[in-house]
Point group: C2
Chain length 373, copies 2
């Protein structure tokens, strides 16, 4: 795998024309040579289970273990690897995730893991990024308008997160998306910080047992932290993943939250960690339930039509995609990994009310409560 | 065909829940009964060659023949019908355009013609709309920021246009898009008016002869009106149909212009009419050249990948699509008819420089001059 990572880093060099090529090439060589060395001798941080070497140096990670930035970086590295491995276990073609480690000229970088054209997973992406730099005045103005008490001008920031979209081939397995992130802005002596994230499910055919299982895992996870969280974040999710021009939600929802900074940094971190760890329990059983089910050409075409709606949401409304693509020098391949391998648009496609397709639409137009109190 | 139109109007009733159903139903009946009647006896306007009955009543059209709003409506009705018929002549499956006539609650309506899953044309849409109503303050503020001298508050407006996107099945035939429109805003006693539009080509494989033919037809058409137009509008097109996050244009360009209001209303109308009439001469020969060419699975997959880029442009950057979808009560099916039947996204797909796919990318990254002075 190390060699594959190195090769992919070399490939990266061809694409990222704006980057410092000699630096990247050197980095690639150092990286392949140094990974196992660091893992075994130079620190107390065991990186051997990660998909690639951490973004920060292992020495820096080991020295600053109690810093929230480091705790989040190590958590997302672990979550990425565990989720990728859980998916690889379900994939039946023997396909593995291809790993791309990339650097950001302005500070930090990321690890993008992609599996494409598998037997079970048509396109699966699990991405982490750990970036830092100066937040431009426009971004600060936006944050102030959303209630953050920040000074004018540029301010140093740090952002780290894991995000993932899994598009299975079988239309009876839903698509899942999750994203958990930590943000810091330094304003003079004050460090403003907050967490955000969410997990949501996009089925192609309504399976009530699946939706109930998915929401139950989320509710159980959230209830351990605060009984108010699940109803609040479930509603927020239905509102956020909404396609206004079609008057429908993207899927059967899940949870979504932002600006979480209470009751304490440590409790927020534990909460977000639990949410990220719950993803595999909420989703893998659904993959196992349906991956051997047969499906018709018509079911596959309906799945591709719904994937067109997924594209519409992500490209028109999703704030992450929008602001990501508008950021100069953004790594668009990692941002757009959320798009399906295939999508379809038919003019005026409208399934009958009493069909399985119509049944799904009914739920998308009228979000349900899946778990009773 | 009249029956088909009526049937489609009935279908429309099921979709457009917000509309006055009884009115539409009555309208549908009147429409089928009255079309040929009006065409032959009640006016001097011959509507028999149009795809459907005009948006305005035939009596109103006949009475106001010299009003620019009417001249534009009749022109786009004619252009729509001629282009649809020219395409039907090239289609080899016998498929015909399906015609949807729709009304807008706030004023006006449109005719959407779609051909889907043909042998030559995978998805072809030719839409006209003639709408009027009150322009909201936000839209007026935007127009003022773009240099229009308009009063504050709401103002009455009229907009009419034809727009079309043709996605052929064979990857050797390019996709074409065109749009020609007329706009009026009444501010007290003053009527502000302007024309806009453009025609542009999106090939999947570079064929220099095709690009030269296409641009030559455009240049010849524009040169008859003003020798400055082609260089100016060709550059505007390259700048407008640009996908910034991929650092590439959508295709090999064409022409694009907006806010055209000189030297006179009549000359602008003649210019836009000539542009719209030139579309078939610029495009149909390319369809004829390539529609029987064989192609490989790999060429088809590259076409679908490029169609993914088309979707990215239309959903993220195209002003028409964006503002259209954000307008409450917008007819999204007509706006999104521009999307291809199928599209594809692969992570990090990058063709080699010396391949036919790489040759296209090179031109998209470095727009060329196709016609010498």
């Amino acid at each position: 795998m190390f060699f594959k990572v190195f090769l992919k880093n070399c490939t990266l060099i061809c694409y990222q024309r704006q980057r410092d090529l000699s630096k990247l090439s050197k980095y690639g060589t150092l990286f392949t040579a140094g990974f196992s060395l660091f893992s075994t001798s130079k620190s107390s941080i065991d990186t051997s289970s990660f998909m690639a070497e951490p973004i920060s140096s292992v020495e820096y990670l080991a020295k600053n273990k109690d810093d929230m930035k480091i705790k989040v970086e190590l958590m997302i590295l672990r979550v990425q690897a565990e989720f990728c491995k859980a998916l690889e276990k379900e994939e039946e073609s023997g396909a593995k995730f291809v790993v791309d480690k990339w650097q950001r000229k302005e500070g930090g970088g990321g690890i993008t893991c992609i599996m494409q054209d598998g037997k079970v997973f048509e396109k699966a992406g699990v991405n982490i990024s750990v970036i830092s730099g100066m937040l431009p005045p426009a971004a600060i103005a936006r944050m102030r308008s959303q209630g953050k008490k920040l000074s004018d001008g540029e301010l140093p920031f740090f952002a780290a997160g894991v995000s993932s979209v899994i598009h299975p081939k079988n239309p009876l397995i839903p698509t899942i998306h999750f994203n958990y992130r930590y943000f810091e802005v330094r304003d003079g002596d004050t460090v403003h910080w907050w967490f955000g994230g969410g997990t949501d499910l996009t089925p192609y055919y309504l399976n009530v047992a699946d939706a109930v299982h998915f929401h139950t895992v989320l509710k159980d996870t959230l209830d351990k932290h605060d009984k108010q969280y699940y109803p609040k974040f479930k509603k927020w999710c239905d509102e956020y993943f909404y396609i206004p021009h079609r008057y429908e939600t993207r899927g059967v929802g899940g949870i979504f939250f932002d600006d979480l900074d209470t009751p304490s940094q440590e409790s927020c971190f534990k909460f977000v960690t639990d949410c990220a760890d719950a993803v595999k329990y909420s989703y893998i059983p659904l993959v196992q339930r349906h991956k051997h089910a047969t499906y018709s050409k018509q079911e596959r075409e309906w799945q591709l039509l719904r994937r067109g709606r997924y594209v519409e949401f992500n490209l028109i409304y999703d704030r992450g995609t929008k602001f990501g693509l508008l950021t100069p020098g953004a790594r668009y391949e990692s941002i757009l990994m959320s798009l399906p391998l295939k999508a379809r648009w038919e003019y005026m496609h409208q399934p009958g009310k009493d069909t399985p397709e119509g049944e799904l639409l009914e739920v998308l137009k009228n979000p349900r409560e899946w778990v009773k109190e």
